[in-house]
């Protein structure tokens, strides 16, 4: 293998691919536009839903409860400090809930007034529609408001009896967050980013790999290339490096997409959940190790892609083989989407793809275990060596290259 020949092949392949508008659009333009767009749209949707749930809670009274007294109790007593809860009139309360015209129907015990006077409990039924997120969410908000009313009433009754209000609270709960700064703060990113990175690294080189070997075979350019001076190892290495490069181009484009999204709307990066992005606590060594593991994963899959493309008889056959890699990446990525970094076992770091996802989950979650990261790094290097050896041997096999 000669570095000069590798460079000539690499240079030509990069130029050739860059001139292919489809590849440029798929690998660079779409991620740069799509990521901020998805984040902003999903983020905007989440923010709007959150606002809608908390604001403009419309309630109505059941037909039996529709009296001036109850209206007065609801508006001026129970929800007097709750401008977000609004009582409205409807003809058919249940249908109004089902049609999403109101969130809840309040149904008071018919003898509520007597019970209230006798200081006995009465029931307020909250009728809601479980199939509606907003209606279901309104139950807890309205319940909370009713509880506050209860507390006010109890306080009033105890004061009348000259009893200290502290009797109501024998034990006070005081939650204290002891997590390090940044831990758990990137929940949304921790779920999505490692998954996106792993999938892209695994599939990013597919268009280039398909084109560079199977495509060449189909266009009859492969055999003339093999009759030129360079040995096969140089040609393979030039093509392999091109595929590796394009595996990471998508990642860089995605990264730029996130940056663009962040510039347009800082909330978009956590998809509108209101979480703050905390990067200050990420240890640089852990980040470097995670990036290295990712790079090696990309290099390994570039090798697999070239090998499959070399094995394929045609462009279409290569596309079919390579499409399986998309599943290979997506299944572990989705399966571990909700896994918490602290729950990841060391052996998981031995498994390709999962090791990259886990490493980034650790880094973003702020729970760093260097032993696991080293296990991932060393095993990845071994897998890479095995993959490259297999790819090189396939590229030298006449049965593979001249399959017809």
């Amino acid at each position: 293998m000669k570095a000069r020949h590798v460079w000539i092949v690499f240079k030509k392949e990069v130029k050739d691919i860059i001139r292919d508008k489809r590849t440029v659009i798929t690998n660079i333009v779409i991620p740069m536009i799509l990521i901020p767009l998805i984040n902003i749209l999903v983020g905007g949707g989440v923010e709007k839903l959150q606002r809608d749930i908390e604001e403009n809670i419309t309630i109505t009274l059941s037909e039996t409860s529709r009296t001036d007294e109850i209206k007065n109790l609801v508006e001026n007593e129970i929800f007097k400090d709750k401008p977000n809860i609004r009582l409205v009139d409807t003809d058919n309360p249940i249908d109004a809930v089902r049609d999403a015209d109101v969130r809840l129907v309040l149904d008071f015990d018919s003898d509520y007034k007597q019970k209230l006077t006798e200081e006995k409990p009465f029931v307020i039924k909250l009728m809601y529609d479980k199939s509606s997120t907003k209606s279901e969410a309104a139950v807890s908000i309205v319940s909370q408001a009713i509880n506050e009313y209860n507390m006010r009433l109890v306080a009033q009754r105890l004061t009348q009896r000259n009893i200290d209000l502290e009797i109501l609270e024998p034990a006070r709960v005081e939650p204290v967050n002891v997590a390090k700064e940044g831990q758990g703060g990137n929940m949304v990113l921790m779920m999505t980013l490692p998954m996106i990175i792993a999938i892209l690294v695994v599939v990013g080189g597919i268009p280039a790999a398909t084109d560079l070997v199977a495509g060449e075979k189909e266009r009859n350019t492969f055999e003339p290339l093999l009759t030129t001076k360079p040995d096969r190892a140089s040609i393979l290495m030039g093509k392999y490096l091109t595929v590796t490069l394009f595996s990471f181009v998508s990642i860089v484009a995605i990264g730029m997409g996130f940056v663009i999204g962040y510039i347009i709307n800082p909330n978009s990066i956590t998809m509108g959940t209101g979480e703050q992005l905390t990067g200050a606590s990420i240890p640089p060594l852990a980040l470097v190790l995670s990036i290295l593991i990712t790079v090696i994963l990309g290099m390994m899959f570039a090798g697999i892609q070239i090998a499959l493309s070399a094995y394929a008889r045609s462009f279409k056959e290569a596309q079919t083989y390579l499409s399986f890699l998309i599943f290979a990446a997506m299944i572990p990525a989705y399966a571990t989407m909700f896994t918490q970094p602290a729950d990841i076992k060391v052996y998981v770091f031995l498994i390709p793809i999962l090791n990259t996802i886990s490493a980034f989950k650790m880094v973003l979650g702020g729970v760093i275990d260097y032993t696991s990261l080293l296990v991932a790094l060393v095993s990845s290097i071994i897998y890479l060596a095995i993959t490259l050896a297999i790819t090189a041997s396939m590229f030298n096999k006449e049965k593979v290259l001249f399959r017809s």
Binding site: I8, K12, N220, T221, E223, T227, T228, K229, E398
Partner: protein
């Protein structure tokens, strides 16, 4: 200039090329005549070092295909039949230059050589156009130029006229004769009697991997006392089919 010595290629139990022996001198065109599947392409692929012989060898110029494949590839140019096999997104000049670079030519020589070839083949007007924008005839000329950009001593043509129209076939024939004029050693595979008769100084009739007979066309005609190469071919091949 080119010697094939006991060249054999087996794929598992199947013998694609069986103990081939022939010589081609400098400035000579050798036609490998045979039906589809006779072993022509496998032979040329071995001569071009794309396939490794199971046994035997060939000496291309000064270099042995088994011992110095890289030197052999530097010495040969190859042209395949059918589609010209250019990189569509590269210009004509870039297509030629890529192969020149791969054959270790320096920038100055590449430029001079491309200029020379552009003039020779009349490609000046479309040299900087992308291959995808060229007509079939233009692409063919670019493929010719690419094959000889490094000025190889030996040219291999693997059924170069297959699937081409009359005009394009004529271009190929002219190109092959031009190579001969330049003193190159030419091996040319075909299943067309007429083009072998038109172009070749010597012919080898190959069937089921075996070289049935070899010699100049006149020699073969005299030996088999027949004026028709087709008759001679059918007799040799027929003998083998029966055998």
């Amino acid at each position: 200039m080119l010697s094939v010595i006991n060249l054999t290629k087996k794929f598992g139990d199947f013998t694609a090329v069986d103990n081939l022996n022939f010589k081609v001198e400098r400035g000579e065109i050798f036609g490998l005549l045979g039906e589809n599947g006779a072993g022509k392409t496998t032979t040329l692929r071995m001569l071009a070092t794309m396939l490794k012989p199971t046994s035997g060898t060939a000496v291309m110029g000064k270099y042995d295909i088994n011992n110095e494949p890289e030197k052999v590839r530097e010495t040969i140019g190859i042209l395949f039949g059918g589609e010209s096999g250019l990189y569509d997104r590269l210009t004509a000049a870039e297509n030629i230059s890529y192969f020149a670079e791969l054959n270790d030519m320096d920038r100055k020589s590449i430029k001079e050589r491309i200029d020379f070839l552009a003039k020779s083949f009349g490609m000046e007007e479309y040299l900087n156009k992308r291959a995808s924008k060229l007509s079939k005839g233009m692409k063919q000329k670019v493929a010719f130029a690419r094959a000889i950009v490094h000025n190889p001593d030996i040219m291999l043509f693997d059924e170069p006229t297959s699937g081409l129209d009359v005009g394009a076939i004529r271009n190929v024939h002219d190109f092959i004769l031009d190579c001969k004029k330049q003193g190159k050693t030419v091996v040319f595979s075909s299943h067309s009697m007429s083009e072998v008769e038109k172009l070749c100084d010597k012919v080898g009739i190959i069937h089921k991997g075996k070289l049935k007979d070899t010699g100049s066309i006149d020699e073969l005609k005299r030996k088999y006392e027949n004026d028709s190469l087709e008759e001679i071919f059918m007799r040799l091949v027929g003998d083998m089919n029966e055998g």
